[in-house]
Symmetry: D2
Subunit: 436 residues, 4 copies
């Protein structure tokens, strides 16, 4: 039993489960097993906490016609795919709030299968998926596109960029009433030149309203100044701190991340993937993007050295089969942004960058639970927590690739019928053996 606390694993251990929670963890013989207990025999196997992905997008390509009519089905399929791969909890950091909440609640109530979902809804400040005048808008139809944009933004779209901090406060308070589990905002946009979205004052207001409501608040950052502003604004976590364009993170910012112990998602890659992206791949990147990639790799190395709490996140979703077929194999080699399978690629990337297996497991369990303020219920195998477990055929501490060798997944104390998953099959298989 590797219990996710970082302690030495328990050999010949027992995890006792009652009413969906862990009743006891310990060495066989020292844990009193009630006579009525059903026993799952895991001899020769390895038990870890249910895996958690700090950053997924359960609906990808929201501007496709085949997607906009089936948001809930796709969310279900993605959540079921994640669960099939041992990810018992996932955090949707940018999606469509209302259908996400509906699926989240159906899974919570046991009406359907799936990974436990926590949702942010819109990344505050970002626009919906349809760009006015784009071919996608034309295909979907203007009204349908507008409606998807409206559902995506829910009054937290780019209009906020014109508002004063007091006006943004009112908007955020209203948004919180719609029921997101946490907040995410755009400290920066995705692309140059959109590198600072909100003033520090406005960022603080978003953080403050989240905290008043008991929610964690995370920031999307893509430049050093947006990262620093978000840290000063008091965010609880950074979605992908390693993305800072061509300029590496300065030591002073790394020191702040460490001193404040701000959990950071990041995108470590396998050596093979770095080679593909930086230069050996199908398309040679320009001088600038090469600099950007090298800077990102260096950031990851420094973050690992700096003792910052790191989080596994795939940024993954379920890809439509036509898109998967569109590109050559190399394009998808060791590609992580694919829900389920991508998780293992991410872990291998971390291992190749020098993170020990135990730290990788913590980054995908305890660290995520702590970052999201959920350590009372999730993240480790300790008494009182929800009984989310993965049973492996082989030792993940010997080789992190053994995370793939899943014998069983237990969620809320029940064994998941993995062979039936996903129940919804819209994009199925929606993934491929990336990186294997």
């Amino acid at each position: 039993v590797i219990d996710g606390t970082g302690r030495v694993p328990i050999s010949d251990g027992v995890v006792l489960i009652r009413d969906g929670r862990i009743a006891a963890v310990g060495v066989r013989g020292q844990v009193a097993i009630p006579p009525e207990a059903l026993i799952i025999d895991g001899r020769g196997k390895y038990v870890i906490p249910g895996l958690m992905d700090a950053n997924v997008h359960l609906v990808m390509r929201r501007n496709r016609v085949d997607v906009i009519n089936r948001f809930e089905d796709l969310i279900e399929e993605a959540a079921q795919t994640a669960l099939m791969y041992g990810q018992t909890t996932v955090f949707d950091t940018w999606g469509i709030l209302e259908p996400l909440i509906r699926v989240r609640d159906r899974i919570r109530r046991g009406e359907t299968e799936g990974s436990r979902i926590f949702v942010a809804g819109n990344c505050i400040g970002m626009a919906g998926p349809f760009v006015p005048g784009s071919p996608q808008e034309k295909e979907a139809g203007r009204e349908a596109a507008a409606e998807v944009n409206r559902l995506s933004q829910l009054n937290t779209g780019p209009d906020l960029r014109f508002m004063t901090s007091d006006q943004v406060r009112t908007i955020i308070r209203e948004y919180i009433h719609r029921g997101p589990d946490f907040l995410k905002y755009a400290a920066s946009g995705h692309e140059e030149p959109d590198l600072i979205v909100f003033s520090e004052d406005v960022q603080r207001v978003i953080v403050d309203e989240g905290h008043r409501a008991g929610l964690t608040v995370q920031a999307h950052t893509t430049s050093n100044e947006s990262l620093l502003m978000a840290v000063r604004a008091g965010v609880d976590l950074i979605t992908h701190a390693d993305v800072t364009g061509p300029v590496p993170i300065p030591v002073s910012t790394l020191a702040l991340l460490k001193e404040k112990q701000i959990p950071c998602g990041f995108f470590p890659k396998t050596g093979r993937r770095w080679d593909i992206e930086i230069g050996g791949g199908s398309r040679t990147p320009g001088a600038k993007s090469r600099l950007t990639l090298e800077s990102q790799r260096r950031n990851q190395e420094e973050m690992i050295k700096a003792d910052i709490p790191l989080l596994i996140n795939t940024d993954g979703g379920l890809w439509p089969p036509d898109l998967l077929a569109l590109h050559p194999a190399e394009h998808w080699t060791d590609y992580e942004a694919i829900i389920g399978e991508g998780y293992f690629v991410r872990c291998r990337g971390m291992a190749e960058m020098g993170i020990p297996p135990m730290e990788i497991i913590l980054a995908g369990t305890r660290n995520v639970a702590r970052a999201y303020g959920l350590l009372d219920d999730l993240g480790t195998l300790e008494k009182g927590k929800l009984a989310d477990l993965v049973i492996l055929e082989a030792d993940p501490l010997a080789d992190i690739e053994n995370l793939r060798r899943i014998a069983a997944v237990i969620k809320d104390g029940r064994v998941v019928e993995r062979q039936r998953l996903p129940l919804k099959r819209i994009f199925y298989p929606g993934f491929r053996k990336v990186g294997s």
Copy 2:
């Protein structure tokens, strides 16, 4: 004599000029006139300080093929056009540094005619005029376009957005060595969603480096948060404080502008122009831009009430004849962004919004000189200053439109041969009687 200090005009006054500077100003009879003096008889006429435009662009449409080969000629033509209209000093707030400096220096040395030019060069953080992949780039040719972009940016382009404040400091220091007269930076970009360009830290560094070098620093702002950040960063002037998208400026920011006495450029319009833009014109604006225009008008009203030092600026340039011909008359009615002529339209707009003529004259003379830290030499008719004067046929205090009735323009103590101007005629006439 309306001397630009705001004092009661001097009837039957005399302005004595020696060696290009004002030697005395006073009532006839009280000013000793040396026997060798040449006398310009202005009886029945009105004398004001040379007009100043706080914000022009001596090269417009920098991405036209017919422009990129003739930067210096066009700058000369524009500076000569301004002078013809009584504007003895203009401030180019976003242009191409090197040709601007060359023309500036030729005019200073008396090698050619023209309005006195002060230049910023690039608006720090902004890109050059050619968008990669645009039809303009194709027409100009890729290399030529890249060269114009390089000349426009000179290392102060969008790359700065990725940099830390320390890195930006080094860049700005280098840029100042190239010889701009003042600095202008983009606190925000032009268009949604690009509404914040630099963090407050970076803005402070730009302001600090400017001030260390004895330069004024101004900010381009297009939203309330970018405006507030620029004010906090300590800028010396705001290029167009009334542009804040659909959200009017909050009272607290207006109070800061007043308390700090930060000079503000703005774009007041005639009633006729407001009607055209907001709704009665050729194109009906969308709901959003209507809100933006109404917000802008309200900002102007509040700025006028709030006793903030206001500056005349046209944002004007010289338009190519083909563009002028392209649009119907209504498009150009009371349009101010045309160098020379637009100045009078701006003044009429100010008058229609309730600013008394004396205040308008101050906004176009003393206030501009003070804002740019040039009050020792320019802005009023006082002993020791450069002898820049405009002699009018009719009283501008009776009707601000009388600024158009120029009898003579004197710059550096010499009467300008207006009828010869502009000497360069590339886009000539390059303007029309807008708003008349």
Copy 3:
């Protein structure tokens, strides 16, 4: 019935109370009165919500030997005195946390009488009452004095001023676990030169930790910069915003207070009191303190004009009889910092400064409840709220002095036996008819 919402009073109204809460409010005849109801006949009388004092100190002179041995008794006496005068809820903004919590809880459980108490404990950053080496310390004994200081500070004393924001965060989190109802911190100290206590970063951390725990956070400020820093740090209320030394509050800060609708305590005085303090009194103040007083009065006038939510606070405590006897009558004339009685003097001061009676009542009821985030339970006479009422003999809207003419006080739905109060009589009578 004046219900504290600002609406027109209800003539011939009925307030129906059940289980300590208000079951209905309305016009007689329109409110169904259950047969078993006990009826308090208030014909010809006036009903208002229970009065609230936003800022009291239930233990004054914490460095007196006769005080340090009887903290809880004195707190009880003060709370009972307040209740006797119709103040059903008081907020202790700087006191000794543990005895305050004990008395607070005894009153809540009905084990003793008294005003409902909400407590902050220490004003974070401030020292305990005993100055090392002072005569008071000598009298009390070094160990006893040290213990009182320890109890007062509880790790939130001046040592925090050396700490980084991250270190302060940990301290505040621990402090919140001790059970305060709200937080108050020293943005500034009391006296020149101690005018800024914490950096904005540290202030934000205190606010953030309070908000995460669902507590309101208020700041003690005594200068313009400390006030502005506190506003930017996001405090929920300002204890006494009118205290800014000799420099009046700038318009921009007043505008921020209004835009953010930050409730502000303040110390308006009667004309007679202003005369005494500024110049006609027993001691002529120095030029500087005269400036300070004039600045304070001007601040109050501007705050009233600026439509900022204002709060009644007396800053009052119970004074030991020897201290009361020490000074001449003039010293105490219209003096407000006396619990119970001082409340009416404050109201008269507000009236003399031009605040209408209805606004004064709102400042002492609804505004206080809203400022402290307690509007669900307190502040108005509306269905579902705790049944705290004061019944007056005469109309307070006709003359705010009629607040003194209390016929009955009802707290939690029970009529208070005012004639028995205070039950504890240590400093009794501990007040005098100040200002009458």
Copy 4:
């Protein structure tokens, strides 16, 4: 020749001086020596740039009766003492502006001897030396004391703490007109609880006004938050960055100091001195001050490691003989705050803390000149600089104590008649062989 650039020393070198400036530096034989040159034969000797002390107080104990009547004489004596010890340039960071300027100018004009003086005048925000009601005030007489306070503060005293940033701006602008060479302000006071004096806004205004006037601006800090605020406010140097009370400087702040290359004064001590202060001395410090001293020592160690530009400063002045006699020898052992002699003790302290001799020399020459923006004239032995040299009998790179073995001091190209110094002898000898 150790030229102060950090380069390898020149053996058998020549420094050619003409008109008070260095005309050439090089290896004998490669430097053309004009026939008319006077030759100072330094064979077997060592040449270094004139020593610089970044932080002295030319008048100590300004509240003594014997001092207040002789400010200029004492300043002269102190400047002459410094020069006698090879310190050709000193920076008075807190003194009385007007007499300092007078002496400074007399020395510059060659009317008297002395170290080259640069003066700040008051440490902005600090009070004059006489505490109202103190025995010193009584002794000096109230009016005389008030006058000294007035001279010390010159409108930049504690009153500024009540002002808004705009008001402070006006004050600082006026102060600069009085002629200080650089500005110093109190980011914090000296003693708990006075640990933050000015908001960041006000600090920025002081820095900005200094920079606009071409002056460097330094901050006095005594806590981590005041240090961080000063760094963010953009100061050019920190007077004593190692003084942060009982809390060591966090890594993030050290990283900022390094990234911004902010020169830092600090107070490194000899091991013997540390022993005396921390515990082996005459008075055992309290637990708290022991913590403070240990924190200071740790800060120094980290600053040395962190590659921050360090400055030699003694914080020294000339002590009255009665005070010197008052304390036992141990009190003065390795005590540095004594002008002249203390410099060598500081150097030994640096050496004992592990700084190589070359780095110590740079910290007392080039680094100081660079920190104060004077590198064009001072700090190294390079062509064109002022000819300030010290000739030593023994190699300072072999043992930093050899700085004491001065053969000759040359200032402005002239050999100083050291044996005559000081010309003024009020407190003479005013020092003793501290630490020897």
